[in-house]
Symmetry: C2
């Protein structure tokens, strides 16, 4: 089995690294050099037509892309410790929060990065007004999530889950590109401190 990735602060490869650390699965990344555009090569596109990392290649040559789908594969082959929930309601609740982390939290961060940050300006056509509008959207998302974390230890409730991994990788990436969590969001900061203290957060 090969996990194609890159040791960057980018949220998606890191999500898989944190997930594997939580599971205790030792599978180092096979490094793809994004600067050399190895991910856009015909060889890599045969594994993932979108040229994205992470991508998992099984021993029989089948490939799985998309971070959450890769993590779900590992959850299925090694259910413990559970990171996607065990019962129907737990599974649905974790899935809901994974999606909320992506659509409410990661979306504005990604739009800001893609359409406003100087780094991507050199690479892609940006719509700067739109990009900048995501600062407020991300702030609103923080406020909403801070309220949701009132009296709740983790994003999806009582147990650490894939939703925490998605949210932590997002807020850390956001901070790296200049959008830290605002100090007034006490619940969100408390949650970040706690999940960041887990050994997996170093991944």
């Amino acid at each position: 089995m090969k996990l194609y990735g890159a040791p960057t602060p980018a949220p998606n490869p890191r999500r898989v690294r944190i997930f594997l650390a939580e599971k205790g699965i030792d599978l180092p990344e096979t490094r793809i050099d994004m600067m050399k555009r190895e991910n856009k090569s015909p060889e890599f596109r045969a594994k993932n037509s979108l040229g994205q990392i992470p991508t998992l290649e099984l021993d029989d040559g089948q490939t799985i892309s998309e971070t959450v789908a890769i993590c779900r594969y590992f959850e299925e082959i090694q259910p413990e410790p559970s990171l996607f929930g065990r019962t129907a309601i737990e599974k649905a609740t974790v899935d809901m929060w994974v999606r909320r982390a992506e659509f409410q939290l990661m979306m504005p961060v990604g739009n800001y990065w893609r359409h406003f940050h100087p780094y991507t300006a050199a690479l892609l056509k940006q719509f700067k007004d739109f990009g900048e509008s995501n600062v407020e959207a991300y702030s609103n998302a923080q406020k909403w999530l801070d309220g949701e974390l009132e009296g709740k230890p983790f994003i999806a409730g009582e147990a650490y889950s894939m939703a925490d991994i998605c949210a932590l990788s997002t807020v850390d990436f956001a901070e790296w590109i200049g959008l830290p969590i605002k100090p007034e969001f006490a619940n969100l900061n408390r949650w970040k401190t706690e999940v960041s203290a887990r050994p997996s957060a170093a991944a």
Copy 2:
């Protein structure tokens, strides 16, 4: 159990309706009047803090939001016919394609709707240049998906799945807002004709 929704062409409530039709589960929507902003009322926000539909309320009062999470709940309580896959690799593959349908296909359609369509112009601040750029992005996504459907009956492979439901609701919504599938994408049009012929597509 109550399913809060609305009988609109909007993709998310329709996904759940198609999913339930495929499962043979009879659970009519409890209608939420979006025009009257019932979904933004304090009563509804107590069920879903984001004020979105669909939202599922279980008999014990627990609620699940996010379309795919709601469908996953029904998959767990009634596994057959399987719409999320049975084995680890099947589950990961369906999840991958659900996400690709959302991020590659629905994203540009949603951005166009949100930031360019005259209907939303009256409701929200739009970034029209950005919105319009999504016409090309959606065309590129169609081209990519058309290639992926070469020799493959369904989005995730040999079996109809949640990924087809996500993609169909997207292309139908896109057509409704003025972005039909281009005629030259023969595989994509063949797939659309086939999945549209299933009784569930009327949902």
